[in-house]
């Protein structure tokens, strides 16, 4: 078993566990944060498979922009509930 196989097994199992948590968690904000962690793990998978361009793009977009869009949606809703 090579080092690549070992790393890919670890990354694959973590991907599945975090995806299950993201889909099944009760609070919406936890689900969004698990989605962010999932895209960071996807960056590791892209680097493992020698795709640096895709890894940079996913790191910028998946961790920052998509998460911020989800959080802004949840924030606007919570403010309206307070009023």
């Amino acid at each position: 078993m090579t080092f690549f196989d070992f790393l890919s097994i670890v990354v694959g199992v973590l991907l599945l566990v975090i995806a299950f948590l993201a889909i099944n968690s009760k609070k919406l904000i936890n689900s969004v944060l698990f989605l962010s962690a999932l895209s960071m793990l996807a960056v590791v998978a892209f680097v493992l498979m020698k795709a640096p361009d895709v890894a940079i793009t996913e790191a910028v977009i998946g961790s920052g922009l998509v998460t911020s869009l989800f959080v802004f949606t949840l924030l606007s809703v919570r403010e309206e509930k307070l009023k």
Binding site: N24, P52, D53, A55, I56, T57, V60, I61, G64, L65, S68, L69, F72, T73, L75, S76, E79
Partner: protein
């Protein structure tokens, strides 16, 4: 109970997909691909690489061989940002109150970080034909610097009209450069500038110019989406 049943069914579906992929002749196993049988083998041949002149082969496919495809994808992004503006845009707008007063450290620190992020994003855009990166991640980094300004300053409003103007300018210049290919060469988006030697900063013909335009277009579109999400209707 219903959840367990659904999990079992989807697990079975995954097994069926894996078995179906393993038994076909046309789908080689993971890591045992012969590139010369694929269409990518032609992209990796010496004549084609010389013709485009980009050191990053992914860039030479995105902007060199498949530019028309990229034009369509940029159009899809434009339409989705238009849809967001159509759904969320109101007449009387005010900025969403994030209920946060920035202190001195956050204000000064975010200004210095903004400069570093902008310099890095332009570096990534300009070196798209030499190193990993290019217009798409660089444009997303420009948009994330706008996001940083929104988060660090509670009064900041971006100039949304300026972004719209920049986006239209970059998009139309992108198409005009493509149309000039019909004049100076034979085809739409033909590479009519000298390509230079592979690996130099000034090489690859029209690829760096198009990538800068794509970066500006993507950045201004995503910044417009962020601005639409952070505004809400003004209550009287």
């Amino acid at each position: 109970m219903r959840k367990l049943f659904g999990l079992a069914i989807t697990f079975a579906l995954g097994l069926v997909i894996i078995l179906a992929l393993n038994n076909t002749v046309n789908f080689p196993a993971f890591g045992e691909v012969n590139l010369s049988e694929r269409i990518s083998g032609a992209y990796l041949s010496e004549d084609n690489v010389e013709e485009v002149g980009s050191a990053n082969l992914v860039t030479s496919i995105v902007i060199g061989f498949r530019t028309f495809d990229t034009l369509g994808e940029v159009t899809v992004l434009f339409i989705s940002s238009l849809g967001v503006a159509f759904i969320l845009g109101r007449k009387k707008q005010k900025r969403m109150n994030l209920n946060f007063k920035p202190n001195f450290m956050l204000r000064v620190g975010s200004n210095i970080l903004l400069a570093i992020i902008l310099v890095t994003s332009f570096y990534i855009i300009l070196h798209g034909h030499l190193s990993p990166g290019g217009g798409f991640p660089g444009g997303a980094m420009i948009a994330s610097s706008v996001l940083l300004l929104y988060l660090a300053d509670d009064r900041f409003r971006s100039n949304i009209k300026g972004f719209k103007l920049l986006e239209g300018f970059a998009g139309s210049l992108f198409v005009i450069i493509g149309l000039l290919g019909l004049v100076f060469a034979t085809a739409f988006f033909a590479n009519y500038l000298p390509t230079g030697t592979i690996g130099n900063f000034l090489s690859a013909g029209i690829i760096p110019i198009i990538y800068v335009l794509i970066g500006l277009k993507v950045g201004s579109e995503i910044a417009g989406i962020i601005d639409n999400f952070l505004t809400e209707e003004e209550r009287a």
